[in-house]
């Protein structure tokens, strides 16, 4: 791997994300471990979106749907495992994380296929609004379905299990999330560099040209959208386990907006953009939140300034323009 400026920054970001909880652990400050875990999970969710938005140019304002679906899968399977009742068609619940992750990704993928199949027939503003509307649909469905908490959300009484690991220990759970994040980022990099990634990027740049060489832009985009949904869904399952709570707000359009914000803050399309963005966002939330209850006002202001004046995000600011080869 060539040590470009961007790669160096990426390494520093990855190292910092690991270092902070290690230091916090040694200092007996588990709160910061939780904070770092939150950063890792949000970074994963945003990495998923980055595949659709940063690489594919698909401005999905409904990715919260996948995030929430992942969360609810974790919550529902865990609660059924606890109560012993079967979930569907005689299948029982589970509290094994890796099974939950697979189910979360599968379900997010299926819903992503359904939403994407319809939404990708539109483009531009229509696409933005229709993805927003579909996510709202999922939100209202979850809130109205009484069996799983409705508006109040769903608790996960005991954090789910992972073979060989005591997941209740904050540091352990952080490490699980950290490793998954790195795998997610690696997957993103591999997909982006592949033939599929080339087609997806080309479809963003010039969809007519892609069709003219014989590639159907719709199929490429739909595939990208589904992959993106699956990654974000996985993050949702982890988020539910982190908080031991599934909140319907995971499905809200504010969440969708937040995911986009994470990407913009860090740098759209950049490999470590989502991580940089998530770190900045959580830092703002924490630091500004400590100073004033009105921190969201300043978050809005900072976001506005970034959009107007610092379009490449943090990674763009530090590493300069992206090279495309």
């Amino acid at each position: 791997m060539i040590l470009t400026r961007e790669n160096l920054i990426n390494l520093i970001l990855a190292a910092a994300l690991l270092a902070i909880p290690l230091i916090a652990n040694a200092a007996g400050q588990p709160f910061y471990i939780t904070l770092a875990t939150r950063v890792a999970i949000l970074a994963l969710a945003a990495t998923g979106l980055n595949l659709a938005l940063g690489v594919g140019g698909l401005v999905s304002f409904g990715h919260a749907a996948f995030f929430g679906i992942g969360g609810y899968v974790a919550g529902i399977l865990a609660s059924h495992s606890f109560s012993g009742e079967p979930v569907l068609f005689g299948l029982s619940g589970t509290n094994q994380m890796w099974i939950i992750w697979l189910v979360a990704m599968a379900l997010a993928g299926v819903v992503g296929l359904a939403i994407g199949a319809i939404s990708l027939r539109t483009s531009g503003v229509y696409f933005i609004m229709i993805t927003l509307a579909f996510a709202q649909m999922v939100y209202y469905f979850a809130v109205s379905w009484p069996a799983y908490g409705g508006e109040d959300g769903l608790s996960i009484l005991v954090r789910n299990q992972f073979p060989g690991v005591m997941t209740m220990v904050p540091m352990n759970f952080f490490l699980i999330c950290y490793v998954i994040l790195l795998v997610g980022i690696a997957l993103f990099a591999v997909i982006r560099a592949s033939r599929f990634g080339a087609a997806l990027q080309a479809a963003r740049q010039n969809e007519v040209r892609v069709a003219t060489v014989g590639i159907q832009p719709y199929r490429i985009r739909l595939t990208g959208f589904v992959l993106s949904a699956m990654i974000t869904g996985l993050a949702g399952a982890l988020f539910a386990d982190l908080n031991r709570f599934v909140s319907p707000s995971m499905l809200s359009w504010h969440m969708s907006g937040e995911l986009i914000v994470l990407i913009i803050l860090g740098g759209t399309g950049r490999l470590f953009g989502p991580l940089a963005g998530a770190a900045l966002y959580v830092a703002f939330e924490y630091a500004l939140g400590g100073i004033t209850e009105r921190w969201q006002f300043f978050l809005g202001l900072i976001l506005l300034l970034v959009v107007l004046f610092a379009r490449g995000g943090l990674v763009g600011l530090l590493a300069g323009k992206a090279k495309h080869g």
Partner: protein
């Protein structure tokens, strides 16, 4: 007679009350350069759009490479071998010239759903693309982002992409547009050799290029083909002279 590679029969396209394509019949034979000329507003672009698939015809048929392609999408027709260049060059601006052609090469192989091998380490694909760039004379500019290429270089890039597709026919939409005299001459020479690769349907305004290259010319006026013939026949045809060529013939 050899079957034409492209056969358009009685094509009709209306935009409300406007009959943009009024029963056009024309064909493209192997080995030929067939030029399509006509005054502005004659409906040349509309016709090209229907052949390529960006517009759906109202009636009539389009047969390409032995198949009825009237219902196929742009991408499907491209995969059958219809290579096209645009009046305003359509390229992937952020990608280098090389990556643009690699995209076409990858499309030809039908392998866009490979997720794991990095495309920039795929020597086979890179070599194929470089070979095409060499044919059009863009080797030196291979790694330059396409957005930074000059107007003429973008033309060459589009042709390189069409070559990479091993097109069975080329549809060139005003390739000479915006080219200076040097560029036009070079491109004319190039197109002359290109005809051996695959026949060309050439939409053009530049009469020098048309008369130098065309085996046959069709003249489109108000959506109808008013004459088809060799260069001499068209030059001498009185209807064509009055409708279009004026004193240029």
């Amino acid at each position: 007679m050899v079957e034409p590679i492209l056969q358009i029969s009685n094509l009709v396209k209306n935009f409300g009350a406007l009959r943009a394509t009024d029963g056009v019949t024309l064909d493209l034979r192997p080995g030929e350069i067939h030029a399509l000329i006509g005054p502005n507003g004659a409906g040349k672009s509309t016709l090209i759009h229907q052949i390529c698939g960006t517009l759906r015809q109202d009636s009539g048929s389009i047969r390409f490479a032995g198949q009825d392609v009237g219902g196929l999408s742009v991408a499907e027709r491209a995969r059958l071998g219809l290579g096209r260049t645009f009046q305003v060059s359509s390229i992937a601006p952020e990608f280098s010239a090389l990556r643009n052609v690699m995209l076409a090469a990858q499309a030809k192989e039908g392998s866009s759903f490979r997720f794991f091998k990095p495309v920039m380490r795929d020597q086979g694909l890179i070599d194929k693309a470089m070979a095409m760039l060499e044919r059009v004379g863009l080797t030196e500019r291979a790694r330059i982002p396409a957005a930074e290429l000059s107007h003429g270089e973008r033309r060459q890039l589009e042709i390189a992409m069409a070559l990479a597709l091993q097109s069975k026919a080329f549809l060139l939409d005003e390739p000479m547009a915006g080219m200076g005299p040097e560029g036009s001459k070079a491109l004319t020479r190039f197109l002359d050799t290109l005809r051996q690769e695959a026949p060309i349907l050439l939409v053009e305004h530049d009469m020098d290029a048309v008369f130098a290259l065309a085996d046959r010319i069709s003249v489109l006026v108000y959506g109808r083909v008013i004459a088809t013939g060799t260069v001499d026949e068209i030059r001498r045809d009185p209807t064509v002279r009055s409708a279009y060529l004026g004193d240029h013939g």
